[in-house]
């Protein structure tokens, strides 16, 4: 029985097609997952369904009601509730009040009778309170009923958001990245809560998340979006092994041989590190996004930070460059302690941060943008080297930066960085929103950086390309570094990395080593993976191993090889 029907939905923002004829069906009682890499259009689709974004063409039906252009509060009346990725609780109210608002916003109550405290309002009030208590009880939030919502830790606030959505007596709950900012254990707990909620409140759910472990654990069916198109759909187990999906998440598998990439000479390795980060922790508001980050970059080295979205890569860069204040730990740059120093002071020392979205001024011409470097550096800088490196920019020197293509804009950002004579350039999501061919060109430029002796710290979604160009890499997971090593090794062990993205059943590798059947397993990997795999998968593996009468590890490794071959 189809409850939510999305047909041929198209959304354009300016010239960009965010959604291209996407269709989706959600059945009653189902928990539907919607996944995809960054910029795939998940959030756009979600916002169309919840009414924040209006589609250009296409239709959305909820039962027999058209939701396509219905106002936001009207959707609530029909029984569509949602939660927010960036917690939107009413922070100055108590948890209980947070639940009562949606309850009586839907019942018709009169402002004036409320102000006068007429008996009718009093009865309605008490009824709402009782229902709020009941919901809080189910979600194990009783003791917070009278707490001011804004004072709660983020993990609890997420649960309150869910409770508030349920207070509307919805039939469909839209969950926007409910696992964002939660650690592995909290994510596991959330999965249990979601199952309990479905059983108890008879709601269907649409879940958008980057955290594959959650999606795999709770969803009955998964849709995968990529570049605004529906890439694949199926049951979680099928999706997990779908080579198209793996490629979308990790980038195209590189066809280059591993030997081709030259790494920094070993002599350099013994040099003192240029950047040394130890035990760094940072976050926003009540959220601690990263903790215990240790990483080093040596002079002239290219280091990649990879990992799923929300793992803390961007936050790490921001904490290093002084855009946000670290909460703990130390950042040493070129032998000086720069922890908590201001961004502009750090950049003067030769650490340039190219933020996500490139941080350019759209209304300046290319030439002016580059000339600006000389002003900030306090001396006149010859901008011709930039044009030598990027001949294309010379042709467009008088064009406004905002009118350039994404790839060209990234070139301007890189050119600007190189003009300020940096010792280390940190690039956040260089390839975001760019076509693969452009991405390849840009990665060539990273090599140029290395040839010039400039160290590079890259944050990348496209693992393959990043590992191609990098000397070493750190794999981020849930706010810490889960794995690190030379890029060559990580690349050859593709499934390790895949595990960190897709929550693949690599964990069985842990079982394998436990059984001592001789398969070499990296202990660091075991650790990552053991928290990642759903109990169900684990049980299935063990069962299969038992029937086939061989160690579980062997089964797993065989399965993984199959995945790899596909």
């Amino acid at each position: 029985m189809t409850m939510l029907r999305v047909r041929d939905l198209t959304v354009r923002f300016g010239g960009i097609v965010a959604l291209d004829k996407v269709s989706l069906d959600l059945n009653r009682g189902e928990i539907l997952g919607l996944i995809g890499p960054n910029g795939a259009g998940k959030t756009t689709l979600f916002n169309c369904i919840s009414g924040v974004v209006r589609p250009d063409t296409g239709s959305i039906y909820f039962d027999t009601h058209s939701l396509t252009y219905a106002p936001v509060h009207e959707r609530a009346r029909l029984g569509v509730a949602r939660t927010f990725q960036n917690l939107q609780l009413w922070g100055s109210m108590t948890v209980e009040e947070n639940l009562i608002v949606p309850m009586d916003a839907l019942g018709k109550r009169n402002t004036f009778s409320d102000a006068l405290y007429l008996p009718f309002s009093g009865f309605a009030e008490r009824a709402s309170q009782e229902r709020a208590r009941a919901i809080l009880h189910v979600l194990d939030l009783d003791r917070y009923a009278r707490t001011i919502a804004g004072d709660l830790p983020a993990g609890i606030q997420r649960r309150v958001e869910l409770a508030r959505a349920l207070a509307m007596r919805p039939r469909l709950v839209l969950l926007d990245e409910p696992a964002a900012g939660l650690d592995a254990q909290e994510t596991a707990h959330l999965a249990e809560v979601l199952h309990a909620v479905r059983q108890r409140f008879h709601v269907s759910m649409l879940l958008v998340d980057h955290d594959m472990s959650l999606v795999m654990r709770v969803c009955d069916y998964v849709y995968v979006l990529d570049f605004g198109k529906m890439l694949a759909r199926g049951e979680p187990s099928a999706i997990r092994n779908d080579p198209k999906v793996i490629a979308a998440y990790l980038g195209e598998e590189s066809k280059k041989l591993t030997g081709e990439v030259q790494t920094v000479a070993t002599a350099k390795r013994d040099e003192r590190p240029l950047l040394e980060v130890s035990k760094l922790a940072a976050g926003y508001g009540g959220l601690e996004v990263i903790r215990d980050i240790n990483l080093t970059v040596r002079p002239g080295e290219v280091v990649a930070c990879i990992g799923a979205n929300g793992a803390g890569k961007t936050t790490t860069l921001r904490a290093i460059s002084g855009m946000i204040h670290p909460r703990a730990g130390r950042v040493m740059f070129a032998g000086k302690d720069v922890t908590g120093s201001t961004a502009e002071r750090i950049s003067k020392r030769g650490l340039i941060h190219i933020p996500e979205g490139r941080g350019l001024f759209p209304n300046l011409s290319v030439e002016d943008t580059l000339r600006l470097v000389s002003n900030t550096a306090g001396r006149e800088v010859d901008i011709s080297p930039a044009f030598k490196l990027f001949p294309k920019l010379r042709e467009r020197r008088n064009q406004l930066v905002g009118t350039l293509s994404g790839g060209e804009q990234q070139m301007v950002a890189l050119a600007r960085a190189i003009l300020s004579d940096p010792r280390l350039v940190m690039i956040d999501e260089m390839s975001q929103g760019l076509a693969p061919t452009v991405v390849r060109q840009l990665f060539e430029i990273i090599r140029v950086f290395r040839d010039e002796g400039i160290a590079v710290l890259l944050v990348e979604q496209f693992v393959e390309s990043a590992l191609d160009v990098a000397d070493r890499a750190y794999v981020f997971e849930h706010g810490t570094i889960g794995l690190s090593g030379p890029a060559v090794e990580l690349r050859s062990d593709r499934k390790l990395v895949a595990g960190s993205y897709l929550g693949t059943a690599v964990d069985a590798a842990a079982i394998a080593s436990a059984n001592g059947n001789g398969h070499r397993v990296d202990p660091a990997l075991m650790e990552i993976v053991s928290v990642r795999v759903p109990a169900k998968v684990k049980r299935a593996l063990e069962q299969r191993a038992e029937t086939e009468n061989r160690p579980a590890g062997a089964v797993v490794v065989e399965l993984l090889e199959k995945v790899d071959h596909q």
Binding site: P102, D104, A105, D114, R164
Partner: protein, 345 residues
């Protein structure tokens, strides 16, 4: 719940009786200040609702009060109605204007909304209150003179019966203040606060933003207009000067200074706005150590600015808000020592 309500009603009654006694025995000048204080307190109360509860910014509250004042003045002077009818008319017109001003607020927020409301205040100040085209509404340059007015058959006008007007004003203020405190805790109040904390979440949880924002602007304008409607009665005439742009800005500044989320802060601010300038002009001149000095009204404006800066640093929740929470702390400490919990509304 009901005990809380009783507590509030009691509080309002006590406030009324105490405040009603205060101007007795003072000269007419101070009696006028007292009545003016309540009028300004209405203006500040309108901001408690609009900014404190709903989180909308408005820099044209004095315009709403002015519209109430002119409507009431016109009704009494040219139509010779009972003053009660004039007040009701003033409130209704202000409510309507509030809803109209609320329309841009459906799309705008923050600084843009502030600019738009500032523009509205400017337009009314320059082109309606002071323009010949609207003489039928403003009574021309001389304004409306309200020599004689009756309410409930009782004479109340500026010179002789100022106390009667003051009492009616004060009673109305206590009533509206009580309703606003009730509203804060009620369902509608929660929906208002939900809009303040997160509009997006409020809309997705079924709160009709259009309806509640317009309602908030309308109610707020009506409250300001109610105070303004008494102005002709208290001052004897209406002129554009009390309702010019600067008064609107002063409303905003003093509301923040006193605590924009608290109803009693409005009373405090009203008294501050009415008495301090008068006291300054009355006693602010003389000789000090051989030097003649004179503190004029300008000093009041400077003082407000300085106080606002000091308050934002030391008492971020406003004078009333922070004192209140300090008393709460002290009180609960006392309660803990005494072994019993006392609840303060």
């Amino acid at each position: 719940m009901t005990s809380r309500l009783m507590f509030r009603v009691l509080g309002a009654l006590v406030a009324f009786t105490v405040l009603a006694r205060i101007p007795v025995g003072f000269d007419v000048g101070f009696k006028f200040d007292a009545a003016l204080a309540v009028i300004w307190a209405f203006g500040l109360l309108s901001l408690v609702l609009l900014t404190g509860y709903v989180g909308q910014i408005s820099l044209c509250q004095a315009t709403f009060a002015g519209v109430g004042a002119y409507t009431a003045g016109m009704m009494v002077s040219s139509l010779h109605v009972d003053y009660l009818v004039a007040v009701i008319a003033g409130v209704v017109v202000a409510f309507a204007l509030g809803v109209i001003v609320g329309l841009p607020a459906l799309r705008l927020r923050g600084i843009t909304l502030a600019i738009v409301t500032l523009g509205i205040a400017l337009v009314f100040d320059r082109y309606i209150f002071q323009d010949h085209a609207f003489e039928w509404f403003t009574g021309g340059t001389a304004g409306w003179r309200v020599g004689q007015a009756t309410m409930f058959g009782v004479r109340m006008d500026s010179s002789a019966h100022l106390m009667a007007a003051y009492l009616v004003l004060l009673a109305l203020f206590c009533l509206v203040a009580l309703l606003l405190v009730n509203l804060h805790e009620s369902g509608a109040g929660r929906r208002f606060r939900a809009i303040r904390d997160s509009e997006l979440a409020a809309a997705t949880m079924g709160v009709n933003l259009t309806r509640y924002k317009l309602l908030a602007f309308g109610m707020s304008a009506a409250i300001a207009g109610m105070g303004g409607a008494f102005y002709p009665l208290v001052a004897g005439s209406v002129s554009p000067q009390p309702f010019w742009l600067f008064t609107s800005l002063q409303f905003a500044a003093i509301a923040v200074l006193m605590g924009v989320r608290y109803v009693p802060a409005a009373a405090l601010g009203g008294a501050f706005m009415a008495f301090v300038p008068d006291v300054l002009t009355r006693y602010g001149h003389g000789t000090f150590m051989g030097h003649a000095y004179e503190i004029s009204y300008d000093w009041f404006q400077i003082a407000v600015g300085v106080l606002l800066i000091v308050q934002l640093i030391t008492l971020p929740d406003g004078v009333w808000g922070d004192l209140r929470s300090r008393v709460h702390h002290a009180w609960s400490a006392v309660g803990a020592v005494g072994g019993r919990k006392v609840k303060v509304a």
